[in-house]
C-alpha cells in the first residue's frame, strides 16, 4: 500500500519535472529559421482577417495541406487565408467541390473529373506550383539488362500531352473502363503496339510498379503492355501504395520501373525545399541526382504536367469573375461572400 503510494507520488513528481523540462526546451534552430513556422510568427494573422467570410473553406488532401510546395506556401505567396481548411482523401476533393460541400478545392491538373464535373482550374499566375512532369524511372541494372526499354518508352512519354492524359483519366474515372483497357486502346490507336508482338524473352522479368491512383495505374499498364509487346517479360505490381511505398520498394530493388513526377522526386525523395517551376531544369536536376545517389535512371519526360491545381466550380468562377489564384485571393481577403 505504502509502496504503491510512494510509486504514484514518484511518478507524479517525474511527470511534473518532465513537463517543466519539456516547456523549457528551446525549439530547434531550424524551426526558428523557418519563415513559415506559425509557432514563432503568424504572418497571415497580421493582416486583419476579420472580413473573411466563414464559407471560404478549402478542401485538400493531407499532403498538400502541409507541404512547403502546398497550401502553406500558396497562402504565403498570394497573401490570403481560407476561413477553414478541411483535409480529406485525395480522390474526393473533386466530388466535395461538385456537391457544394466546399467552394474551393485542390486537385491534380490532369484529372479527368475536372472537365466531367464542370470544374475549372484557376490559373497559377504567380507560378507557385512546381512542375510535375512524369518519367518512367528505371533501376540502372534493369536498364543494363534491357537497354531497349528506353527506346520503347521514350516515344510513348513524348506522346502523353495534357489533353491525352486528361482524356485517359476520364475514361477510367468517369466512363469506368479498366486502366488496362484504356492503356491498350490508346497504345493501339497510337501504333505503339499492334497485331505482331515480339516473341517473349526468357530473361529476368521487369517488375513494374505504380502508386494507387488512376493516372498511375494507367501509366503502369501502358508500360507493361509496351514492354511485353516488345518481348520483355514483366511482373505487374501496379497499385502498390502511396508515393513513399513505391519509391522505397524501388530503392530496395523490389520494383524495377515506375512512373514518377519530377516535382515529387525533387521535394520528397531528394529533399529539396525549394520548388522549381521550369520543367527542363527540374528534370535535369532530378535525373542527375537520382542516378548519382540511388542508381535510378530517368527516361524522357511527358509533355503533360500533373501539377497541383486550385479548382472552383465553373459557374461560381464565372459569376465571381475569378480566373486566377490572385483573383481568388483578392475576393477572399476583400470579404466577398463564399458561393
Amino acid at each position: 500500500m505504502i509502496m504503491k503510494r510512494m510509486l504514484v507520488m514518484f511518478l507524479m513528481v517525474m511527470l511534473v519535472a518532465g513537463s517543466l523540462f519539456a516547456i523549457g526546451c528551446e525549439p530547434d534552430e531550424e524551426v526558428v529559421e523557418d519563415p513559415l513556422d506559425p509557432v514563432d510568427e503568424e504572418p497571415v494573422d497580421e493582416e486583419p482577417p476579420a472580413e473573411v467570410d466563414p464559407g471560404w473553406v478549402f478542401a485538400t488532401d493531407h499532403e498538400y495541406s502541409i507541404r512547403d510546395d502546398g497550401y502553406p506556401g500558396l497562402q504565403e505567396l498570394y497573401g490570403f487565408e481560407f476561413a477553414d481548411v478541411v483535409t480529406m482523401d485525395l480522390g474526393i476533393t473533386y466530388g466535395a467541390l461538385r456537391d457544394g460541400d466546399v467552394p474551393v478545392a485542390m486537385g491534380f491538373a490532369t484529372d479527368g473529373r475536372i472537365a466531367a464535373y464542370e470544374l475549372v482550374n484557376l490559373v497559377d499566375d504567380k507560378q507557385f506550383h512546381p512542375v510535375y512532369n512524369c518519367s518512367p524511372v528505371v533501376r540502372e541494372e534493369t536498364l543494363e539488362m534491357y537497354p531497349e526499354i528506353a527506346d520503347i518508352l521514350n516515344p510513348i512519354a513524348a506522346a502523353l500531352d495534357a489533353d491525352t492524359m486528361s482524356s485517359l483519366n476520364m475514361q477510367v474515372d468517369i466512363e469506368e473502363y479498366l486502366p488496362v483497357e484504356v492503356a491498350e486502346e490508346w497504345l493501339m490507336a497510337e501504333g505503339f503496339i499492334g497485331d505482331d508482338p515480339a516473341d517473349m524473352g526468357d530473361g529476368e522479368p521487369v517488375v513494374v510498379g505504380s502508386k494507387e491512383f488512376t493516372e498511375q495505374l494507367t501509366l503502369g499498364q501502358i508500360a507493361i503492355l509496351a514492354l511485353e509487346y516488345n518481348g520483355i517479360p514483366t511482373v505487374d505490381e501496379t497499385g502498390l501504395g502511396g508515393t513513399v511505398v513505391v519509391r522505397e520498394a524501388q530503392e530496395r530493388g523490389d520494383v524495377d520501373l515506375y512512373w514518377e513526377y519530377t516535382g515529387t522526386a525533387l521535394i520528397t525523395h531528394l529533399g529539396y525545399d525549394e520548388a522549381i517551376t521550369d520543367p527542363e531544369e527540374c528534370y535535369a536536376l532530378v535525373a542527375e541526382e537520382d542516378l548519382e545517389r540511388y542508381g535510378l535512371v530517368w527516361l524522357d519526360y511527358t509533355p503533360f504536367d500533373n501539377t497541383y491545381t486550385i479548382m472552383m466550380r465553373q459557374a461560381d468562377a464565372d459569376e465571381l469573375g475569378i480566373t486566377t489564384i490572385s483573383d481568388l485571393a483578392e475576393a477572399i481577403m476583400s470579404g466577398v461572400p463564399a458561393p
Binding site: M1, K4, R5, V8, L11, M12, L15, G18, S19, A22, I23, C25, P27, D28, E30, V31, D34, L36, D37, P38, V39, A59, D61, H62, E63, S65, I66, R67, D68, P72, V86, T87, M88, D89, I92, G95, A96, D99, D101, G242, V244, T268
Partner: protein
C-alpha cells in the same frame, strides 16, 4: 477510500498528464519545420476536440440506440427477430470501418456529421448485440422466480434483467470504444477531422513524430475512456 481515489482519479489523471507531456514535448521539440507546422497547440487541441466530439457524439448515440433496441429485441415476442438481427450484426461487424466510411461518403457526402453517423452505426453493433445477448442469457429460473414473486415485466427488466446483463453490456460498450477510436482516425479521409488529421498528414510527408503523436494521443484517449468505464463496472458489479 484512498485506494478508490487512486484508482478512479489518479490513474486517468496520470494518463492525461502523459498526454499533455507528449504534446508539450513534441510541440517544443519538432524535428524540422514541417513537423513544427503540423504540431502546434492549435492543431493538437483542434484534433483533440474533433476527435472527442466524433467519439462522444457517436458513442452516446450508439449506447442509447443500441441498448434500447437491444432491450426491445430481447422481449419474448421479438426474440426470433432479435436472433436474426444478431446475425446481421455479426456480419456487419466484419465490414472494415474504412468501407463503411466510404459507403456513407458516397451516400451522404462528407464532413463531421457523416463521419459521426458512420461511427455511430458502426459502434451500435457490439452494444446492441451484447445487450440482446446479456438479457436473453439471464437464467430462465431467475426470471421465473421473480415473476412468481409478483414482479411485473417492467420491474423484472429494471431490477433483474438489466443489472444482470450490465457487465455484458459494458463489455459491448468497451468493444465499441476500441473500434470507435480506431475508426475515428479514419474520419479524416472524408474531412471529419480528429487525430486522423495528424496521423495521415504525418504519413503523407513521412514525419514519424507527427504520426506517433497523433496515434499516441488517439490511443491514450481510448485507454482513458476504457479505463474509466472499466472502473465504473468494477464499482457497480460486486457480485461476481
Amino acid at each position: 477510500m484512498l485506494q478508490n481515489l487512486y484508482k478512479l482519479v489518479l490513474v486517468p489523471l496520470f494518463l492525461v498528464i502523459v498526454g499533455v507531456v507528449i504534446v508539450i514535448y513534441t510541440v517544443n521539440n519538432p524535428t524540422d519545420g514541417l513537423v513544427a507546422r503540423m504540431l502546434t497547440y492549435d492543431n493538437v487541441i483542434r484534433a483533440l476536440r474533433e476527435h472527442l466530439m466524433l467519439m462522444l457524439v457517436s458513442m452516446i448515440g450508439a449506447i442509447t440506440v443500441g441498448v434500447l433496441v437491444g432491450i426491445m429485441l430481447s422481449r419474448p415476442s421479438l426474440y426470433y427477430l432479435g436472433r436474426g438481427v444478431e446475425n446481421v450484426v455479426n456480419v456487419g461487424q466484419t465490414i472494415p470501418s474504412l468501407a463503411i466510411l466510404a459507403l456513407f461518403f458516397t451516400w451522404l457526402g462528407l464532413g463531421f456529421r457523416v463521419a459521426v453517423f458512420a461511427l455511430f452505426l458502426y459502434s451500435i453493433l457490439p452494444i446492441l448485440r451484447n445487450t440482446f445477448a446479456g438479457i436473453t442469457s439471464v437464467d430462465d429460473s431467475i426470471i421465473e422466480s421473480a415473476k412468481g414473486m409478483g414482479l411485473n415485466q417492467f420491474r423484472i427488466l429494471t431490477r433483474i434483467e438489466l443489472p444482470l446483463a450490465f457487465p455484458i453490456i459494458i463489455a459491448g460498450i468497451r468493444t465499441a470504444i476500441v473500434i470507435n477510436v480506431g475508426a475515428a482516425t479514419l474520419a479524416t479521409f472524408i474531412g471529419g477531422g480528429g487525430f486522423g488529421d495528424l496521423i495521415v498528414t504525418g504519413l503523407s510527408v513521412r514525419r514519424d513524430m507527427v504520426i506517433v503523436t497523433g496515434a499516441g494521443l488517439a490511443a491514450l484517449t481510448a485507454i482513458i475512456l476504457d479505463y474509466v468505464i472499466g472502473q465504473i463496472e468494477i464499482r457497480v458489479v460486486k457480485w461476481t
